[in-house]
């Protein structure tokens, strides 16, 4: 709910910058983050807003980073493509498709060496599944039993290319099979399904059982990026948006009497208020001084 509200308000701004939105795919990030413990790490691709907020990063700091302000965790240098706050478990975004996978495996190797039970999660898109880096990562992660949970948020489209034209394997999770890696495909619009699968795989990885590949079938509610034209017909996008993971969970919670309408409305109001505070925080922070272009280079 926070991710959706955050992105909706960001999109509405004329100075939103270049963004890849997570709207529609929130349940993947939230479900995976729910499986994380202190000491675990999450790496994402460039579609990072959902992952960062799900890891508990302060929404004001994230907004500041995305708007290029120095109050961002990376002083506005990284943007959504490279946002990170390692001490919060969000080891970072890396906007090279499949580029975060081998690095996640290296982080998992460090966790294994440290012997403290840390697990590394990597979220990537279906577009990464045709890349050699995934296959190299699966191979070495299996050989070395790395504590690595690979999570494919399969939104069905790599910019405009359908997954059926980009990856020969179906389902995508079956890519892990030949490597002897545990794998599953779940409904990525159902946060409880994602959370249950991610937690199970994380528990196995934590206890030395090795890596896993979790495919989450999700939907992208917007075009690939804030500057990419939408290739799907409007009626298809409308139909997709009907399958909202937040509405789905809200309905479940109301049906189970975990929440009532009043509590839900209060939650929505509190979320909007948080975004108000986030935007105010970001706007109060300046852009970096130009000389920071040379800071922290070597």
């Amino acid at each position: 709910m926070l991710i959706r509200a955050f992105e909706t308000r960001l999109m509405a701004r004329p100075d939103h910058g270049f963004q890849l939105y997570s709207s529609g795919e929130e349940a993947v990030a939230v479900g995976v983050a729910s499986a994380m413990r202190t000491g675990d790490r999450l790496l994402s691709g460039g579609r990072s807003i959902g992952a960062a907020l799900a890891c508990g990063l302060d929404s004001g700091q994230v907004m500041a980073e995305l708007l290029g302000r120095i109050a961002g965790p990376n002083r506005g240098r990284a943007g959504r493509g490279h946002l990170s706050q390692p001490e919060s478990g969000f080891f970072g975004a890396h906007a090279v498709v499949a580029g975060n996978l081998t690095i996640a495996a290296g982080a998992a190797l460090a966790c294994q060496r440290a012997g403290e039970g840390g697990v590394v999660f990597a979220i990537f898109g279906d577009g990464a599944c045709g890349a050699g880096a995934l296959h190299e990562t699966l191979n070495v992660a299996s050989l070395w039993k790395l504590p690595l949970v690979l999570v494919c948020s399969n939104n069905g489209l790599s910019i405009s290319t359908p997954v059926s034209s980009g990856v020969a394997a179906d389902p995508l999770s079956s890519l892990a099979g030949p490597f002897g890696i545990a794998h599953a495909t779940v409904d990525g619009m159902d946060v409880e399904a994602v959370a249950a699968a991610a937690s199970g795989f994380a528990a196995d990885a934590r206890s030395g059982g090795g890596p896993a590949l979790l495919e989450c079938r999700a939907e992208r509610f917007t075009s690939h990026s804030s500057s990419t034209r939408e290739t799907r017909p409007a009626e298809q996008v409308t139909a997709i948006r009907e399958r909202c993971p937040i509405a789905h969970l809200s309905a479940e919670l109301l049906r189970g009497a975990v929440l009532d309408e009043t509590a839900l409305a209060a939650l929505e109001a509190e979320t909007e208020a948080e975004i108000d505070r986030a935007i105010a925080f970001a706007e109060a922070s300046p852009m970096p001084p130009a000389e920071e272009a040379l800071h922290d280079v070597v």
Partner: protein
Amino acid sequence: MSSESGAGHVRLFFREAIARALAEEMERDQRLLVLGQDVGSFGGAYKEFAGLHDRFGPERMRDTPVAEAAMVGLGVGAAAMGHRTLVGITYMDFMTLGLDPLVNYAAKARFKTAGRITVPLVVKTTAGAKGQGVAHSQCLESWLMGVPGLKVVAPSDPASAYGLLKSALREDGPVVFIDHKRLFPKSGEVPSTECFAPIGKAQLLREGSDVTIVTHGYMVHVAMEAARELEKAGVDAEVIDLRSLAPLDMDTVAASVGKTGVLATLEEGQVTCGVGSEVAFRVMERLGPVPAVRVGPLPAPVSSNPVLEAECLPDAGRLVDAVRRILSQAKPKGTA
């Protein structure tokens, strides 16, 4: 094998200098990992890791699949988590497969995270031709010199290999350490006690007054041979071993060219956008126009055919000819 040679030095083969530097650093930093193909019990393609597997075990001297993208990425990821790593890429040609995590992640990590993540990684690789053909011979170091956030070093003898590798393994950020196939048969004096070769500092190997020859890696030996030839012809050449390609020690180079007034560069990699081009342009930015010549291989792939390989590679004769040509074209010194 190594032998004591007095005066606080020990004579080591090139490979032994590398193994010694690594052993000392692995002893000091219990987290330090080595990843690569055949770095374990096999001891490395040139035995440069010999003995380390027995001493530090297979977990730390870790054989990898033949998958350079994953090898570099694993090293980058582990290093970014605080576990310093050396990744061995057997031949520099194969660095092309692992450039993404090195160039797009490791070199940028410190900047893009505003210092929250650093990547204490050394990628050690072996460049140069020795009969193995078009995809096992290349010297691609100039490709890496223009990547902000990367340091690049190239030893020319056992002492610089030891000292530069020690320094590289103490850096906060990624360093590419480039040795050379034809350096491995060489031996040389290395200080008996621990020492470091500073990154960013060139070494003046031979003083001279007529021309400055700037080179690095194995070509240092070719340059010294050429300097001896030139001496017979009455030309007094100064020879500088760059050692560090990024950053470049332009103070040392410019001081020398300021003295000799003529620059010759020598490299085994292509001269187009090469190390010599960069050195020459920076010299002229400091000193103004200077007679200069670049010497390198032919603009062709390096064949495994011995006739074609020898024809392609630069040698002392080619450097001598180039220096004599540039000197004959340059105005005599002191006659402005």
